[in-house]
């Protein structure tokens, strides 16, 4: 499958990158590691006239401990860098655990955190070649008007399948978005639309530049549990991230967060999970309750392998296990 023709830009600064985005608004696509974008371009899911390779922007390749505390991660930081960061391992273990489950070592050397956050949503009816999609009459996300997964509706259910965003949601991460008018900073939770097709609340002339994690979020124990069929190179079929803060294994939980991925069009914080956990010592029962809450948030459909019913059951099990694992430290 040939890549269609495009013009490649390789800016060295955020400013020039954003200027190019503004200039070619709508016809241009950001390329970071390219591990998601390039296969999709071969399948003709995207045929941008211009491609903006931002890998020349050196300042986005750093993990930086901020003077006032907290952490800044440049959008171009690779998943391997996150895996190898001693600081992240010590302070934000959930992020490292999630990053380590992604794809394979080679893909993690290429893939970036920015790309993982902005990852396109996936669906068995969408991530296919042009010829294949012709045979199903296309779908609502690309070139068509029907959702094969939920044919009654007009909503796209393509599923968000990134592994690090649930961890980042737990950590209350914020992101910096650069546009022609300068930068703005929003909670990561506000980035996602909840719809498979529009997916990100980011304007066509904007790009993600940095991720911030507050210092107060360090020291949480964390766990990431991922449902997969194959031991490596497998997108999550369901994923659960959990962070827990307490003074000891059996001490009451002071704070906690639970987030899930790969079962909705966006990664989601599990509402109420913190309330269920705070003030109590974690045990099997509480963990099960959290599992139920997580399953209520999940909306798995036939976008992916295995059955939706099974994936929903697994959200329960994996959430329970992640809570127990995080509590055990």
């Amino acid at each position: 499958m040939a890549l269609s023709e495009f013009q490649l830009f390789r800016p060295k600064t955020i400013q020039s990158a954003v200027a190019l985005l503004a200039q070619h608004k709508g016809d241009i696509q950001v390329l970071a590691g390219g591990t998601d974008l390039l296969p999709s371009m071969r399948q003709k899911l995207f045929a941008p006239k211009y491609v903006l390779d931002i890998r020349g922007v050196e300042e986005l390749k750093r993990i930086r401990v901020l003077a006032g505390g907290g952490l800044e991660i440049g959008a171009l930081v690779t998943l391997s860098q996150i895996e190898d960061s001693e600081f992240i391992r010590r302070n934000y273990p959930v992020l490292r655990k999630a990053a380590m489950t992604i794809a394979s070592p080679i893909l993690r050397n290429m893939g970036t955190i920015g790309g993982n956050i902005c990852l396109d949503t996936r669906c068995l009816w969408y991530n296919q070649s042009y010829a294949w999609r012709t045979s199903c009459g296309f779908c609502i996300k690309k070139d068509g008007s029907l959702c094969h997964v939920a044919p009654g509706g007009s909503k796209c259910w393509a599923v968000f399948s990134g592994d690090t965003p649930p961890a980042l949601l737990c950590l209350g991460a914020e992101i910096e978005i650069a546009g022609p008018g300068g930068t703005r900073r929003i909670a990561l939770a506000d980035l996602y639309t909840g719809l498979g097709d529009t997916r990100l609340k980011i304007a066509k002339d904007e790009m993600l530049t940095r991720v911030f994690i507050r210092e107060s979020m360090s020291g949480y124990r964390g766990a990431y549990q991922k449902l997969r069929v194959r031991g490596s190179i497998d997108y999550p079929l369901a994923g659960v991230a959990v962070i827990v803060k307490s003074s000891g294994r059996h001490a009451p939980v002071q704070d906690a967060k639970v987030a899930i991925t790969a079962v909705n069009p966006s990664p989601m914080l599990v509402v109420g999970a913190d309330h269920a956990l705070i003030g109590r010592a974690v045990d099997e029962h509480i963990a099960t309750v959290v599992g139920e809450l997580a399953a209520r948030t999940a909306k798995p459909l036939t976008t992916s392998a295995l059955t939706p019913e099974y994936r929903r059951e697994m959200i329960k099990v994996f959430a329970k296990r992640a809570v127990l694992e995080a509590a055990a430290g």
Binding site: M1, A2, L3, S4, E5, L124, W125, Q128, S129, Y130, A131, W132, T134, S135, C136, G137, G144, S145, L146, C147, H148, V149, A150, P151, G152, G153, K155, W157, L227, V229, R230, G231, S232, I233, D234, Y235, K299, L301, T302, A305, L306, T307, P308, E309, Y310, E313, M314, V317, F318
Partner: protein
């Protein structure tokens, strides 16, 4: 023959290993020729449709397009079997599966070719399509091939012994339906073909054709090209470069191989086509999904009295190897155990899906899964030990089975012994605690088919050898190295017979201009058949060397010893000086000046010759030094006379026994295989590392089919046509495998060797199924045992709240194949189509359809 071998039986590196690992070796897609174009194929978006019209006007106008060909450019049908010529490289009237081949664009760039594909206008008349094999068998109209009533490609009904009585005499009869979903080869190298015509120097017209192709069967390809292109075989040369795995997927002619030649003819310049991974899935020829209704009768002590099997295979849209597959499924019920009474009803059914064909363990795997599972169920029911019951039903070779298979060597008892001991079977089976278990299963396979596809008396393999004054041994063999080690095996055998070093031997293989006919690399035939031919060719040429050497050494031919690049008279003590002599011999042998030769002649008769000296002497003596050998299976190994008796008989059978150890996560249904003990009887291990590699590879491939690999269908649409979604195991979940080589030394094999590449696969799936049963007491009768199937069975066992996790199919009592969710998308499928399907919406634009279904 010497008792101790110098080359065979030693773990030698494969002769092409360095080429492959350094990237120097060339596979077909690495090749290019001046003026070469890229070929891209237009595939059908519909599962079943008549083609009314193909308009190429818009596509032809695309810049860079040189030629576009359609079915009209090659209207002759073909197929791998003489009884199954039902394919066209490019369809002429009908498409029969999503992915069927309609047209090919040859263009200067891939992008131009792909753009042109989108501009080919095809008018279809859509036909109702058949997706489920048991539905398809009921078809009265809209047949997939008009000459196949009820869409049945072939059916066979075999009765051996008296199964009726056998079942009546049984103390216990087990009966169940088993289902195995469809799997494909997933060879690393996608299919690729480069075709180029020469211009005839006399006429200036297109003359000879050369085709480089990733194939297991160069001669069949030459034959089918000749048929479809209407050219004499002598004008066609097929060359097989390095091949990155086949597993059966390249064991017949695949559409691109003919399309490339047809396109090159039209474009008047070389054309190369390399399939995308998706196209590889559409070309398929994998293992059909199979329904097995199995009944086994036993005495209380576990002795089998009768087996009755009804097998339905979902063969896809074309014949391919179908009749052979369905026959193997029945025939290989025999030759593993002693079963006195067998009834077999096999149906090969056509459906609107990509064609199935031969895949590693061809025909035997799914039925073996059913049989070995049922045997385990019987053991559980009668409280018998699974190893003991297998021992109770052993054959007593030499013998001929009830269905006419001749068995001479039989290492199965020793295989069972080895894995039972190593796994501590007697003390660990049933005693590992809930959640962990071990299971046993056995399997076997042919070492080549005793009867070739095309009935004839020709040898199945021929090997020629040429030795020249440089002392180099060049072996010409038609056998196709596809990664299994065929070239290495050939070199080893020749070197062993000639007593020369491996590096002296050059193997020229699989080039139809240079090498004699060999049927190809399939049905595990190469080591036995081509190996025998190589051995005979080497013995032939050795005889000529012996004659000259005996003269030189003043002794009889029988007294000569060939070993370590030296030839000496038996009794001469040469061991310690060997290295020195070899060095000397090399220099002398290669300097062919008269003075040196003269000098040698004047020397006294010696007690040894270097290999070169002997070769030079032999050439001086007889003019040329060549040898030839061929192999055809013996008449008494060719099986019975009944209809379908031709498939199953083999010169020799390999045997395998395995024990798998698994644990089951009862909350998730995930199965972890911790270890597999695999014993394989390969007759003699010519190259033990290669044998181990084949056994380990077979087990891992079986593991994939057991736990995670399956082609997921929705209305004939393959939902996972890629290696990301078609989940072959990665190294992470591939367990430790301890292999045991059993050497039963078969009288028919070269140095006693039998097959090693396929036989182990079939045991892995039931060994795992049986281990799961041992661990948690559930009996999975539908493969693969994916976590949702395992969990569904576990929940049923515990009578927990029922959640439909398996799309309505009970994995313990499967009835029919499932479809993966979503709306129905094909026109003409029938009345059950989803109202919001695009086709229906188009039809009823005026009426507003009411939204139905969906999860929203």
């Amino acid at each position: 023959m010497q008792k101790e071998f110098s080359i065979i039986g030693k773990p030698v590196a494969l002769v092409d290993a360095a080429q492959k690992t350094t990237g120097l070796g060339k596979y077909t897609d690495d090749l290019s020729l001046p003026g070469m174009l890229v070929g891209k194929i237009l595939h059908s978006p519909y599962p079943h449709a008549r083609i009314r019209k193909i308009d190429l006007t818009r596509a032809r106008a695309v810049q860079g397009v040189v030629a576009i060909v359609t079915g009209q450019d090659a209207p002759t049908s073909y197929g791998i079997l003489p009884i199954g010529h039902d394919e066209h490289a490019l369809v002429v009237d009908k498409v029969r599966y999503v992915g069927d081949n309609i047209a090919c664009v040859a263009a200067t760039t891939e992008a131009a070719a792909e753009n042109a594909l989108e501009l080919i206008d095809v008018e279809y008349e859509l036909l109702p399509a058949w997706f489920d094999p048991e539905d398809s068998m009921k078809a009265e109209s809209n047949l997939i091939h008009e000459n196949k009533p009820h869409n049945i490609e072939k059916e066979y009904h075999h009765v051996f012994g008296d199964p009726e009585r056998g079942l009546a005499e049984a103390d216990y009869v087990a009966e169940a339906r088993y289902m195995a979903n469809e799997v494909t080869h997933a060879a690393m190298e996608p299919h690729s073909t480069l075709a180029s015509f020469e211009f005839d120097p006399q006429t200036g017209k297109q003359g000879r054709l050369t085709v480089w192709s990733s194939t297991q069967v160069p001669y069949y390809l030459q034959h089918k090209l000749s048929l479809v292109l209407d050219m004499p075989m002598s004008q066609i040369r097929v060359i097989k470069p390095l091949v990155g795995g086949g597993f059966g997927g390249k064991s017949e002619v695949i559409p691109l191989e003919i399309i490339a030649a047809v396109a090159a003819r039209a474009a008047k310049t070389p054309v190369k086509i390399t399939y995308t991974r998706e196209e590889v899935f559409w070309a398929h020829r994998g293992r059909p999904r199979t329904i097995i209704d199995l009944k086994t009768g036993v005495k209380n002590d576990g002795r089998i009295t009768a087996v009755r099997a009804r097998v339905v295979q979902d063969g896809g849209g074309y014949c391919s190897y179908g009749p052979v597959t369905i026959l193997y499924s029945g025939a290989l019920l025999g030759a593993l155990y002693d079963i006195p009474n067998v009834q077999y009803d096999g149906y090969r059914v056509l459906t609107n899906k990509p064609a199935c064909g031969a895949m590693r363990g061809h025909g035997t795997v799914n039925v073996r899964f059913a049989f070995e599972s049922q045997l385990d169920e019987i053991c559980a029911h009668l409280k018998l030990d699974a190893a003991a019951v297998r021992r109770k039903n052993l054959l007593k070779p030499p013998c001929v089975t009830v269905n006419g298979l001749r068995v001479l060597s039989y290492g199965l008892p020793e295989c069972i012994e080895k894995v039972a001991n190593a796994s501590q079977w007697p003390v660990r089976r049933g005693r590992l605690g809930r959640g962990r278990g071990i299971g046993m299963a056995c399997s076997h396979y042919v070492s080549g088919a005793a009867n070739s596809i095309i009935k004839s008396d020709m040898p199945h393999s021929t090997v020629n050898i040429k030795i020249d004054r440089d002392g180099g041994v060049v072996v010409y063999t038609g056998a196709s190295e596809i990664g299994q080690g065929s070239d290495t095996m050939t070199a080893q055998i020749v070197a062993e017979v000639l007593g020369c070093s491996m590096k002296r031997v050059k193997v020229i293989a699989a080039d139809t201009d240079l090498t004699p006919i060999d049927l190809g690399s399939y049905s595990s035939r190469v080591t036995l058949m081509s190996g025998n031919a190589a051995q005979r060719a080497a013995e032939d040429v050795r005889k000529k060397i012996e004659q000259a050497a005996a003269k030189k050494l003043n002794c009889s031919q029988e007294e000569l010893v060939f070993r370590g690049d030296l030839i000496w008279r038996r009794g001469a003590e040469l061991e310690n000086t060997g290295e020195q002599l070899r060095a000397q011999g090399r220099i002398e042998g290669q300097i062919l000046r008269e003075s040196v030769l003269q000098e040698r002649k004047e020397q006294d008769a010696r007690d040894h010759l270097s290999f070169e000296e002997a070769v030079v002497a032999a050439i001086d003596f007889s003019g040329t030094l060549t040898g030839t050998g061929s192999y055809a299976p013996p008449a008494d190994a060719r099986g019975g006379k009944f209809k379908g008796a031709g498939v199953g008989p083999s010169p020799a059978y390999s045997y395998s026994a395995q024990v798998a150890e698994v644990s089951v996560d009862e909350e998730t249904g995930q199965v972890t295989v911790h270890k597999i003990w695999a014993a394989h009887d390969c007759g003699r291990a010519l190259n033990p590392v290669a044998v181990e590699g084949q056994v380990v590879g077979s087990v891992w491939m079986g593991l994939g089919q057991a736990l995670q690999e399956e082609m997921i269908w929705k209305d004939g649409l393959l939902m996972n046509p890629g290696l990301l979604e078609y989940r072959s195991p990665s190294s992470v979940e591939s367990p430790e495998i301890e292999t045991f080589i059993v050497e039963s030394v078969d009288p028919e094999g070269p140095f006693g060797a039998k097959e090693a590449g396929e036989g182990s696969l079939a045991a892995t799936i039931p060994a795992i199924a049986n281990a799961i049963y041992d661990a948690v007491g559930i009996r999975l009768r539908e493969a693969p045992f994916t976590p949702e199937r395992v969990l569904a069975a576990l929940r049923a066992q515990k009578s927990q709240k029922k959640v439909n996790m398996t799309e309505g199919v009970d994995p313990e009592r499967p009835v029919s194949f499932r479809e993966h969710g979503g709306s129905l998308c094909f026109r003409g499928k029938g009345p059950t189509r989803h109202p919001l399907d695009p086709a229906v919406r188009e039809q009823s634009k005026a009426e507003q359809p009411s939204p139905v279904g969906g999860d929203d």
